[in-house]
Structure formats: C-alpha cells, structure tokens
C-alpha cells in the first residue's frame, strides 16, 4: 500500500501537465515514456517475477501495432475495436512463445526468445504483400468515440492523445500491479526461486508460466496499438531486437520484480537519448556506454540499491 500513494500522486501530477500549456515536444516525450513504461512493466511480470528471460517484447509491441494497422486496412475497424483485438492477438503470440519456455531455461530460453523476435521482425520486413515491408502501413488518427450516436470525445491533437496514453498506461500499470501482488504473483516468485519445490507443493508451473508470457505480451500489444495510432503508421524498425534489448535494460537497471522499478527504468532510458540530444552524433554512443556502466555498477538495478540502503 505504501508504494501506491506516490504512484497515484505521480499519475495525478501527470494528468495536470497539459493544463500548464507545455510544449508539444514535452507532451511527445511523455507519451513515449508512457509507452515504454507499459512495455517495461509487462516485461517485469515475465522476467522479474516469473524469472523467464524474454527478449521478445519488441515483437509483441509490433504485433499489437500491426494488428491494428492490418485490421484497419482490411476490415475498416477503428481504435476502440482494434485495441482489444491487438491485445488479444499479442497475447495469443505470447502463448506461442510461452510453450518453449516450459522446457527451456536460462540462456536457452533467452536465445529462443531472440529467435522469435527476429522471425517476427523478418516477417514484418519481408512479407511485403501483407505487412507493407520496409515501408510499413498507414494508420488513421484515433478519431471520435461515440456511444449511441452521441459523440463522447474526440482525440485528434497531441494533447488529447496524451490523456488517452496516460489512461491506458494507468490501466496497464494497475493490471500489472494487481497481478504481481496477488496469488499468481506469489506463485511466479516461488517458481523463480525454486521451480522444483513450487511444483512439489502443488503449484501448476506450466499454467503460471504461460500466463506470465500472455500477460506481458498482452500489455506490450496494448502499447503497440497506441503507438500505431500515435505515429499514424507502423514500420518494422520500431519493433526490432534493439527495442527488446532496451526494454530488458529498463527492467534490469530499474530493478526487476518491482513493477515501479522498471517503470523508472523506462523513464531513464527514454529520456536519456533526449537529454543527450545536445551531443547529437555522440548520443547513441553515450547511450550504449551508459547501458554498460549501469549494468556493471548496478547489477541489481536501482530498486536493488534502494533495498540495500534500507536494510
């Protein structure tokens, strides 16, 4: 409970940001942060809590985004229909990836998730007739939400999208937090600590691992649908192994198994290249170096440092 209050305050503060007439640029940065918070929180469920390494978060992000784009193109569905469908389709692929996880662990599992991520990426870039290949696909704006013919709200400007993104992130964090602190969260941690004993006391390890993969993929899918409508298009480069690796770094550096640690990691890693923007050409070099430095000096992540200081 103690950790909820600062989170609620932060959300409230974020909701008030647009009222201070900030630049479009700041809103843009925050929207990107929200997207990565969702990705990182999702990954924390499967990697931090359940201990199953996954380098495929970028792929699920892409699956959500492309599902929205393709459903729009082929069936004319709008945001409010493609959002749940994108989540479901990403979740289904998460189930697919969860199956090898039942028999593999450690680096074998990591490599399998990397292979999965790469296959999805290759399909996105090469299957031009279906996915638009390197050029991707266009996606319209979110538009209006109408109920029984009455227009509830319209989302066209960045400011309006900001609230939508904030709302989706808040829901995603709530879902992740509730899962992590409930029965299945405890079972995940037990599986991570000692899978053999967890099985021996009656926990259904198979089902729990699959749920972890599905949940993390579904959350990534939600973020994917959002980004598709935000950028008004999808293209493969946003969903590559680099994206996955960055999300893994967010979880590790933020502190796995805490939900809010990875969220903080998301903030750091998203803002870092922007903060470094002044250094232009050196930006990504410094980014890479910082990643290395953080892993060497903070192997337990920021949350781990805090935990050590407290005890």
């Amino acid at each position: 409970m103690r950790r909820i209050t600062p989170a609620l305050l932060a959300l409230a503060a974020l909701a008030l940001v647009p009222l201070a007439s900030p630049s479009g640029y700041l809103l843009h940065m925050l929207i990107v942060v929200f997207l990565y918070v969702i990705l990182a929180a999702g990954l924390d469920l499967v990697m931090g809590y359940c201990g199953q390494y996954s380098f495929a978060q970028g792929a699920f992000y892409g699956i959500g985004a492309y599902t929205a784009a393709i459903l729009h193109r082929d069936l004319g569905l709008d945001f409010w229909q493609t959002l749940p469908l994108g989540v479901l389709s990403a979740g289904a692929f998460g189930l697919l990836l969860g199956i090898p996880s039942l028999r593999l662990s450690g680096h074998f599992l990591s490599i399998t998730t990397i292979a999965f991520q790469t296959i999805i990426y290759l399909l996105l870039t090469q299957w031009t007739s279906f996915t638009g290949g390197q050029y991707g696909l266009p996606v319209p704006k979110v538009g209006t939400l109408s109920l029984f013919g009455h227009e509830l709200f319209r989302i066209e400007k960045v400011r309006e999208f900001y609230f939508l993104a904030l709302a989706v992130m808040a829901v995603a964090l709530l879902v992740a937090w509730r899962l992590a602190t409930s029965r299945i969260g405890r079972e995940w941690r037990a599986i991570h600590d000692d899978e053999l004993v967890a099985r021996a006391i009656g926990i259904s390890v198979t089902r729990d691992k699959l749920v972890a993969f599905v949940a993390s993929a579904a959350l990534a899918g939600a973020a994917g649908v959002l980004v598709a409508y935000y950028l008004e298009g999808v293209s493969p480069t946003d969903f590559s192994i680099w994206t996955s690796a960055t999300v893994v770094a967010m979880v590790i550096v933020g502190g796995r198994g805490t939900i809010f640690g990875p969220a903080a990691g998301a903030i750091v890693f998203t803002l870092m290249p922007e903060v470094l923007r002044a250094t232009a050409d050196y930006k990504l070099i410094i980014f890479g170096v910082l990643m290395i430095v953080m892993v060497i000096f903070m192997p337990m992540g920021a949350a781990g440092l805090l935990r050590r200081e407290r005890s």
């Binding site: 509730r178 029965r183 299945i184 000692d194 053999l196 021996a200 009656g202 926990i203």
Partner: protein
C-alpha cells in the same frame, strides 16, 4: 488396506541401482521411521514416493490408487506432503507467504478473481492468512511472519518448512531429516510437534532420520535400507538389535544404530 504401499519399488540410474525392489507399507496413523547408512537409498526412496524422481520398477499405491507415474504436483494435491534435506524455502517471499502458498492451488476461487479482489477470492485469501498465522503461532514463529526466511535461523527455517508442509492438512507427511542441525531443545520440540501432528491432526508420518533419539522416541515401526535393499522392518527394539542392521552400520566403519544419536 495400507495408506501407502510400495511394491517391489526400484530405481536405476544408468547402471547404478539406488533402490532395489523395496516393499514398504505405511498404515494410516502410524509413524514409520526410515533409516540406513549414508547412500542406502533413503532419499531416493522418498523422491520416488513423492514423484520427484521417476520410478524404473515396481508400483506405488496411495489410498488404493496407483500413483507410480504421477508428477509431483499431482501427488502433492492427493495429500502427500514432504520436506527437503536442504532447506528450500522461497527467498523472495515472506515467511507467511511461504507457508500459505500451498493453499493456493486448492482454493475454489480463480486466480483472476484473486488478482482483482473479488469477494470470494479475498475471503479465501484472508482465511489462508489466518490459518498461516495460527500455525506459525503453534510453532512460536508468528513474529517473523512478514520477514524473509533468510532472517531466521536454520532451526527456525526448518520449522517454517514444517508449517508449509502441514498447512494443507496432508494425509501422509514425509519428513526428510527434520532434526538435522537442530539444537537439543528444538529436537525435543520437534518430537513433540510431530507426535501432536499425528495425535491431534491425524497425519500419518514417514520419517527419514539419522538422529536415533528422534527415531526411537517417535516411531511405531522402523524400516532399514542398505545399498537400496530393505534389510529390516519392525518395532524399534527388534530392529536396533537385529544383527544384519548392526552389520550394515558397522560394516563400512559407520556408527552403530544404538549409539547415542
């Protein structure tokens, strides 16, 4: 019909025979001790019964049902609980979370319901917490409920393991060297607790142990293994004086079973 029946149970590891056609029966309400020199196959036998290691020969029956090929989690849910030789508590969970975890698979309400705090699930969760605290109090550990297991001494952690095992009300409880590393007062307490588990909660006990004091005071019957083979099965007095048993312990220069344990 015995509660647990092992019929010609065997386990081969490649060429090595760890358990060799062992017949073992445990009647409901008994406390049976399983002893034998190091390497005699006691732990393997226990692993076979609890489904941790696959059986290569023979059968196991529990309450009349054949459980030979069942995975460990199914056996757990049928009512057999066990402890491990090395402490295997979950470090990332608190003591209370550790002991209430086994109740979760048996709850009627679903996981999703629990995640979203729906009525019946929340009730079951609260009941589990209450039962966990009650048992921890029984063992004198309730003050540690919210701490991680690593904050407790080895002896206390062993007791937490016992709580975790009996919270589900198993019918058969297999204890793997519960007295190891316990100080004398804790050994006394352990003996008392195990006896009360049988007397008050009706749990049948299969006890693997080296500490002879525990075996002598608790067990109705003792079974002795040597090199995977059963060499004795009877009341404690008879078994400890059985020349074959003495030979097994003395033969490799090991401790005599009736020495001070």
């Amino acid at each position: 019909m015995a509660l647990l029946e092992c019929v010609q149970l065997s386990r081969n590891f490649g060429g090595l025979v760890a358990v060799d056609k062992v017949d073992l029966a445990v009647e409901a309400g008994e406390i049976v001790g399983l002893i034998g020199p190091n390497g005699s196959g006691k732990s393997t036998l226990v692993n076979l019964i609890t489904g941790v290691v696959p059986v290569t020969g023979g059968r196991i029956r529990f309450e009349g049902h054949d459980i030979t090929a069942l995975p460990s989690w199914r056996i757990a849910r049928l009512g057999i609980a066990r402890t491990f030789q090395l402490l295997r508590l979950f470090k990332s969970l608190s003591v209370l979370e550790n002991v209430t975890l086994p109740l979760q698979p048996r709850m009627a309400s679903g996981q999703a319901a629990s995640a979203f705090g729906r009525g019946r699930a929340a009730e079951e969760d609260r009941a589990a917490v209450a039962k966990g605290r009650e048992l921890l109090a029984f063992f004198g550990l309730v003050e540690f409920a919210e701490r991680p297991p690593t904050a407790l001494s080895i002896g206390q952690q062993r007791l937490v393991e016992l709580v975790r095992a009996i919270i589900v009300g198993p019918k058969l409880f297999v204890l793997d060297e519960p007295a190891a590393g316990l100080s004398p007062p804790n050994v006394e307490r352990l003996i008392d607790l195990v006896r009360r588990m049988r007397d008050e909660q009706g749990i049948t006990i299969l006890l693997v142990e080296h500490v002879m004091k525990v075996v002598r005071e608790l067990c109705d019957r003792i079974v002795v293994l040597d090199y995977g083979v059963k060499i004795a099965d009877g009341d404690p007095q008879a078994v400890t004086n059985d020349p074959r048993v003495v030979e097994a312990y003395l033969g490799g220069g090991r401790e005599q079973p009736h020495a001070r344990g």
